[in-house]
């Protein structure tokens, strides 16, 4: 089914000589951090967004039909210590941030970009490593949670609904819930209690 290249992009990539560049975008609270992979071009403006040049190395991206968890490792220079100061001042605000890697296709040897960037990989940041010179992180597909267990609900005596979520329905002023029946009664929300207080608890075998 392809990645959705336009006809003009398909025509360009079919040529014997092709010029492309890699873009990395990290979503931060203050706005996206945009990187143009190592090039002599100082920066590039795409759709009114400016991408600044950094040295970037990416690992292989392995994609398959067998449900293999997809991830890629990105290493970018941090000689200006932008990322290290960000973490030092704000804590780990990078983990679980959205990040995408894209490819732009130039029209021949010019600097004219054909169409929109082609998305190569998209996910969330995990396993960050900072050094004096570099920022290394892993981007994991959003389906990396495939390894988690489901169904999520069990016949537990405690409530498993998200506090103030649609099934909990609590709309009062309290901000915390310890998931017990006692707390739910205290919040006068017991008719929405999402646990099974009378279910038999197996006796441990000794």
């Amino acid at each position: 089914m392809g990645k959705g290249l336009t006809t003009a992009q398909k025509t360009e990539v079919a040529k014997t000589t092709l010029k492309t560049r890699t873009l990395v975008t990290i979503q931060l609270d203050d706005g996206p951090f945009r990187i143009l992979a190592n090039d002599t071009i100082a920066n590039i403006v795409i759709n009114s967004n400016t991408y600044y040049t950094r040295m970037v190395q990416t690992s292989e991206i392995e994609t398959s039909l067998d449900g293999t968890v997809d991830k890629m490792v990105v290493s970018t220079s941090d000689i200006d210590q932008e990322f290290s100061s960000l973490v030092a001042n704000n804590g780990d605000i990078l983990t679980n941030r959205e990040c995408k890697v894209e490819e732009i296709i130039f029209d021949g040897d010019t600097t004219t970009i054909i169409g929109n960037p082609v998305l190569v990989f998209d996910g969330r940041i995990n396993k960050i490593q900072l050094s004096a010179k570099s920022f290394v992180f892993t981007i994991e597909r959003i389906l990396n949670q495939y390894s988690s267990l489901s169904p999520n609900m069990v016949y537990d005596v405690n409530c498993q609904f998200k506090f103030k979520g649609s099934k909990c329905s609590y709309s009062g002023s309290q901000t915390k819930c310890d998931k017990t029946l006692t707390r739910c009664k205290a919040l006068s929300n017991v008719t929405n209690f999402g646990g099974y207080p009378s279910v038999v608890i197996p006796t441990p075998t000794k």
Partner: protein
């Protein structure tokens, strides 16, 4: 290591529904609240029970809501409304988010009740009142039910959907990917068009087969009534049936002869054949144990051969189909020396492939659908097996077993190569074609199964051989049979045939009979003559209950019939029907001749002799030294001739006979066989020709219609016990059917010339021609000229003067 990486957090991973053994109601707080897709039987988890031994109440939870209902509710495998469970009742709750707690739970208010059992608004459960008895007690109670699973989103386009029950695997997968109790993804993360396309593929009705028996329907009704049908074996809910041109989806199968469909039939029909199509892929699964989401997704994807893929930042689903290549790679696109070719290792191929599925019609037994290779690669054969808990019908499992067997064996070649950014638009699952100097392939289609986008900007494509023949939904085998079977004993002697009747129909006799009662596979043999043993064989190896004898003559016929099984055992007694043919309409018998009269000497005799217009096997008696015939232990001929002991076989071949013209004729023979040994028999062969040059082979004679001019018979007499046998009155009948031609309103424009009509094809003999004036003019017609190819008709008034007129002309002959 993170605590979340330690597997099961102490939960019991054993599935109550899919583990071995009967379904048992659990009472366990470590079980998960199941998710149900499609229909599944489960025994639930008891979350509360009142005290008491004679009468008590209980709450059995089955799944996360909202379900679409419960059915077939059983306690200890007895239907809850059975008389054996008198005093037991229930109320069902589907978990719709607004439901109240059942009144059986003690408490003045809903809050009081919730304090005891929880809110239960989103839980599907049964509240039961149980009266203890011999079949149920407070410590002996397994409650099971068939659950109609949760409603899921069904998209008609990428933004429009309805939420309803579905057992389409793709919509169930979508729900699992997006529901809170599953993967919890946003619908914005989904490439919806791929789900719509794949769901459509799964929904296709395929493999039309005719059901056993016949059916009747009534206009304005949804009911289908069968006769000799096997609905419970051959039809299931969701199948598409077609009756009398109307196609409907089945909504319920009551028993072997009654089912209902989704909407009323528009026309009544009776005794019609019904064809049945089943849905290509369905899913019926209860997720009742905590496994990784990947495991559950694989469990669902395998039911439809599906794969999850990425397109941009969205997740799509694809099902391999017979589609065209999306991109061609030639040697110019492949980075030099990057091609690697390999084949599937022997141990990964398959001689036998088994798909294990659950059969709801047989108490959810685990059954196998097996596909076997025509030729085994290994000895002993390599047997591969997969378990598909979500498949609950044989045909789907069988199609998958055939697919996986043939995919393993016919798509056994793999190839990887590196390309430039020319492969940027590719994703796993794409079909590409490759022209490779390395392997000599030209536009060979491959499936991309894996991709590596390397650090140096190259893209490595790993591909598997593609076989477009894999996608035609072939069944791997026939359905397995459960429980008892009801097969005829094909070795047993067939019962006597009953009620043989003979009725004349113009120049033919129609024979009907009641088939042998104890052997449905019996065949039938019909003979004609005074006795079964001495009669000529009219027809043999007949199936059914009717046979037509053509080209009869005016005489008395005695027809005999016996049933015979596959091992040559005849029924004990022949049934007889006698018919007197006193008149035959519309016949043109051009030959009715006994060829054993004066012609007998013009034929060729082998181990036979001709005497008194009979063909008789040669004698093998010898003259003894005492001057008498050696007739020790031998029979005398019925007519006092010596030579009672005969050879085993002999033949008489007639001369070639000529009809005078090539005719489409019906040819039959009659003869008399004289014998005093039941084992004696005669075989009649013939050959025929249109030009006396090119002849048919010698064929066993069977009366019927042929086009020929020349013919020749061979009569073979057999006597296994070397006893006297003779054949006489060998009468050949050749009948040419009449051919009628009508020429209406032929106009005579020149009175003295009349009107000519021409016959095509021409008749063999000059036909009868009758003409009448058709335009109301008083007068009469005269056939002035007539031949085998044309006729001329003139019209005259009553004074004898030729006139112009319109005439109707009828021509009849052969």
């Amino acid at each position: 290591m993170s605590i979340t990486n330690t597997n099961n957090l102490g939960f019991d991973f054993e599935s109550p529904a899919y583990r071995f053994g009967p379904l048992e109601t659990q009472a366990n707080n470590s079980l998960c609240v199941p998710i149900v897709y499609g229909q599944a039987r489960a025994a639930g988890n008891k979350i509360w029970q009142s005290s008491g031994t004679d009468t008590f109440t209980a709450m059995i939870c089955f799944a996360e809501g909202e379900l679409n209902g419960f059915s077939d509710i059983r306690i200890n495998n007895i239907l809850i409304d059975d008389s054996a469970l008198t005093g037991c009742s229930y109320t069902s709750y589907v978990g719709n988010g607004t439901q109240s707690i059942d009144s059986r739970v003690p408490g003045a208010t809903q809050a009081d009740k919730a304090g005891l059992v929880g809110g239960l608004k989103h839980t599907a459960y049964l509240a039961l009142t149980i009266t203890a008895g011999t079949k149920v007690a407070n410590n002996y109670m397994d409650v099971s039910a068939v659950l109609k699973g949760k409603s899921v989103r069904i998209y008609s386009n990428t933004t429009t959907y309805t939420t309803e029950y579905s057992n389409n695997p793709i919509w169930c997968i979508l729900d699992f990917l997006t529901c809170v109790n599953g993967c919890g993804l946003s619908h914005d993360d989904i490439d919806m068009q791929t789900f719509i396309d794949s769901a459509t593929y799964c929904d296709v009705k395929i493999n039309a087969v005719n059901a056993t028996g016949t059916v009747s329907v009534t206009s304005g009704s949804t009911k289908v009534t069968g006769s000799s049908t096997k609905f419970t074996d051959e039809v299931k809910v969701g199948d598409e049936i077609t009756i009398n041109g109307e196609s409907k989806n089945v909504t319920g199968v009551t028993d072997d002869t009654n089912l209902t469909v989704e909407s009323n039939f528009s026309a009544s029909a009776s005794s019609k054949t019904m064809s049945v199509k089943d849905t290509r892929y369905t899913l019926n699964l209860i997720l009742d144990t905590r496994k990784t989401r990947q495991d559950w997704l694989n469990e669902m994807l395998i039911t439809c051969r599906g794969f999850l893929v990425y397109r941009g930042n969205k997740i799509g689903v694809i099902i391999e189909q017979d589609v065209s290549s999306v991109q061609s790679f030639t040697q110019d696109d492949i980075i030099a020396d990057s091609e690697i070719f390999w084949t599937t290792p022997k141990e990964q191929r398959s001689d036998i492939f088994k798909v294990r599925y659950l059969d709801p019609e047989n108490q959810y037994a685990r059954a196998y659908a097996v596909a076997e290779a025509d030729e085994f690669l290994s000895d002993p054969p390599v047997v591969q097996e997969i378990v598909c808990l979500g498949i609950t019908n044989f045909k789907q499992a069988s199609r998958l077993s055939w697919f996986y067997l043939n995919q393993a064996n016919t798509c056994d070649k793999f190839m990887s190569f590196n390309t430039t950014k020319k492969g940027l638009d590719r994703t796993p699952g794409d079909i590409i074609d490759i022209t490779s100097t390395f392997m000599g392939y030209v536009n060979k289609k491959l499936v991309v199964v894996s991709m590596n986008e390397t650090q140096d900007g190259q893209i490595q494509l790993i591909c598997r051989e593609y076989n477009s023949n894999l996608y035609d939904d072939t069944l791997g085998s026939v359905a397995p049979v459960f429980n008892t079977v009801d097969l005829d004993d094909v070795l047993s002697t067939p019962a006597d045939v009953q009620n043989l009747s003979a009725a004349q129909n113009l120049s033919s006799i129609v024979l009907n009979w009641q088939p042998a009662s104890n052997n449905s596979q019996a065949k039938y043999e019909i003979r004609e003559g005074d006795y079964w043993n001495s009669s000529r064989v009219v027809a043999t190896n007949l199936t059914g209950s009717s046979y037509t004898v053509l080209n009869i003559q005016k005489e008395t016929y005695k027809y005999w019939i016996k049933a015979v099984n596959d091992y040559g055992n005849y029924s004990d007694n022949a049934a007889l029907s006698t018919i007197v043919v006193s008149d035959i309409q519309e016949t043109n018998t051009i030959v009715h001749e006994n060829i054993l009269d004066e012609d007998i000497d013009s034929g060729t005799l082998v181990n036979c002799f001709a005497s008194n217009n009979k063909i008789i096997l040669y004698s093998t008696d010898t003259w003894t030294s005492s001057g008498t015939w050696d007739n020790t232990g031998k029979n005398y001929s019925p007519y006092g001739f010596w030579g009672a002991s005969c050879g085993h076989t002999g033949s008489y071949t007639t001369k070639v006979y000529d009809l005078g013209a090539n005719l489409s004729s019906i040819i039959s023979v009659n003869y008399d066989l004289s014998s005093n040994d039941n084992t004696n028999n005669v075989l009649i062969e013939w050959k025929y020709s249109q030009d006396n040059i090119t002849w048919s082979d010698w064929e066993i004679f069977a009366q019927g219609s042929k086009t020929f001019r020349y013919y020749q018979f061979k009569i073979i007499l057999n006597s296994p016990n070397s006893n006297y046998v003779a054949l006489s009155n060998f009468i050949v009948n050749v009948d040419v059917p009449d051919r009628d031609m009508y020429f209406k309103n032929q106009e005579i424009t020149v009175a003295n010339s009349g009107v000519a009509v021409y016959f095509a094809p021409v008749y063999s003999n000059v036909p009868a021609v009758v003409a009448n004036i058709s335009d109301g003019t008083n007068g009469y017609c005269v056939v002035s000229l007539k031949s085998t190819s044309q006729a001329t008709i003139k019209a005259y008034n009553n004074s004898g003067t030729a006139i112009t007129a319109k005439v109707d002309i009828r021509v009849k002959g052969y």
